[in-house]
Amino acid sequence: MGAQDVKPTRSELIALKKKIKLSESGHKLLKMKRDGLILEFFDILNQAKDVRNELDAAYANATEKFKFAEAVEGRVTVKSTAFALKNTPEITLRSHNIMGVVVPKIDSSKVHKSLNQRGYGILGTSSYIDEAVESYEILVDKIILAAEIETTMKKLLDDIEKTKRRVNALEFKVIPELSEAMAFISLRLEEMERENTFRLKRIKA
């Protein structure tokens, strides 16, 4: 909105003053939200780093245990044992609010199971299979946890970015333009006031 486009009226000036006040308080709130989100983000970032490291370690371990089981027991045995368990982990998604940002909260059925809940008979299998299965169960648990934390982190990042854009728009565009328009109207009104006074004096004379 260019300063020249506004009507230099007193009511417009009052409306602009209200808008500036609103924009300034909005700017202050958004800045506070942005700072709060950044603090939350750094908290989550640390958790995400830890979970990612644990996930990488769990993946490396699971891959090694799997290769090991495959080498000792054979791919045929590992594959056949895997057929014994059809259940997939049940995941429930809930939402959770961090400073107005809706982030997911993932509740899942426990993937890590005891030896007799894995679907295969214990007598006909070996510890190579147990260890491969256990390491993959741990990996899936970590993946679910990492999914929750990393999605939260991405949502927070998106919202920080959005809030930052709004703060900047208010700070560098909206408020300066409104202030400029207000200054223009004030100047114009003063000018009109002076013209009026001069006109009255001329009529009197």
Partner: protein, 349 residues
């Protein structure tokens, strides 16, 4: 489905042992494994393709390639070798070996039921079959082609396994699997009956050692990974061990892993695991490998003790199984970039 149990009659020990000794001389010598571990994967595959396994590799080369080809060829060779032994043995000897190799029938039935339960493609189920037992590959293939677990069980109703299989409840495969494994040993004891006959006595000793090793491994697995209560764990244990009877096992069940290791010190199996048995051990695989080595050594010593009995044949069967296991570890281990040290530790030589 199952062919009737062979008549017992007189055994052809001299002939069978001579043939098995000849077959044993074709097993890979110990030094070969060290050489194989140092070879590249292509060289190992070429070595296997040019060895005793050549025919099996050639036959399967149209269907599989690479490491899978080698693994399937090894399994095929194992099945044909055991079938050959069953075919040249007679009478009592043949009867005992047939009973012993029913282990493979149970494995195949489990593999088919798992595949059907999961809804796996028929070809994938067939790939997991090792027809080294009494059920031929043709019969097993026909089972694998059935539509559901219930149809498979129905098709097995004339077998000794049906009494357990009929109790199958959807999603409870593990119960059936454990019961089938229990049945294998109880049926071995039952069918072999009297241990007055020396051959059966030797065989029983061998089986009871195998049961002890299975029970010890199971105890360690339950303590290390399991959260199963002592009562349920007791149901899993196999009766008839040589040194560890069920009464002794029941005493071991409530113990912690550390206490279990201490209690095992009084059994002969301790010598096999003493060097690596540590209460804080991360993995049980090395302990299991050591116990497998012990089992092989025991079979070897039986075979020298009773040269004209079932012992040399059992020794060969175990050594053949072990050769296949070792080759698979080397091939798969190399292909998966496992360290040479890790591969060497798992080899039972």
């Amino acid at each position: 489905m199952v062919s009737p149990v062979q008549s017992r009659g007189s055994s052809n020990y001299a002939y069978s042992v001579a043939r098995v000794r000849a077959m044993k001389s074709k097993l890979l010598p110990k030094e070969t494994y060290a050489r194989l571990v140092n070879m590249k994967i292509d060289e190992i595959i070429r070595f296997i393709e040019e060895s005793e396994y050549k025919q099996d590799v050639d036959e399967l080369a149209r269907t599989y390639d690479g490491i899978d080809l080698i693994e399937h060829a090894l399994n095929k060779n194992l099945a044909s070798t055991f079938t050959k032994i069953i075919n040249f043995t007679n009478g009592e000897l043949n009867y005992i070996l047939t009973e012993y190799l029913k282990d493979y029938d149970i494995w195949n039935i489990k593999a088919i039921l798992r595949g059907k339960y999961y809804g796996a493609p028929v070809d994938e189920i067939k790939e997991s079959l090792v027809a080294a037992g009494q059920l031929s590959y043709g019969k097993l293939s026909a089972l694998a082609e059935k539509d559901s677990e219930d149809d498979v069980i129905e098709a097995l109703q004339n077998t000794q396994y049906y009494i357990i299989l009929k109790e199958y409840e959807k999603g409870q495969l593990w119960k059936i699997e454990n019961l089938l494994d229990h049945m294998y040993y109880s049926s071995l004891f039952q069918t072999l009956g009297s241990t007055k006959i020396s051959d059966r006595r030797h065989f029983m000793k061998f089986i009871r050692t195998e049961i002890d090793i299975k029970n010890i491994t199971l105890l360690m697995r339950l303590k290390k990974y399991g959260t199963i209560d002592a009562e349920k764990s007791a149901d899993l244990m196999i009766a008839g061990g040589l040194e560890l009877g069920l009464a002794e096992i029941e005493k071991l069940l409530p113990l912690s892993f550390e206490e279990l290791l201490q209690s095992l010190e009084k059994y002969s199996y301790w010598n096999a695991i003493a060097d690596i048995a540590d209460p804080n051990i991360d993995s049980l695989t090395d302990l299991e490998t050591q116990l497998t080595k012990y089992s092989l050594r025991t079979a070897g010593s039986f075979s020298h003790e009773y040269p004209l009995s079932i012992a040399p044949i059992m020794d060969y069967i175990l050594n053949k199984k072990n050769e296949i296991r070792n080759l698979r570890i080397i091939v798969r281990g190399k292909a998966s970039n496992l360290s040479e040290e890790l591969i060497k530790n798992q080899l039972v030589i």
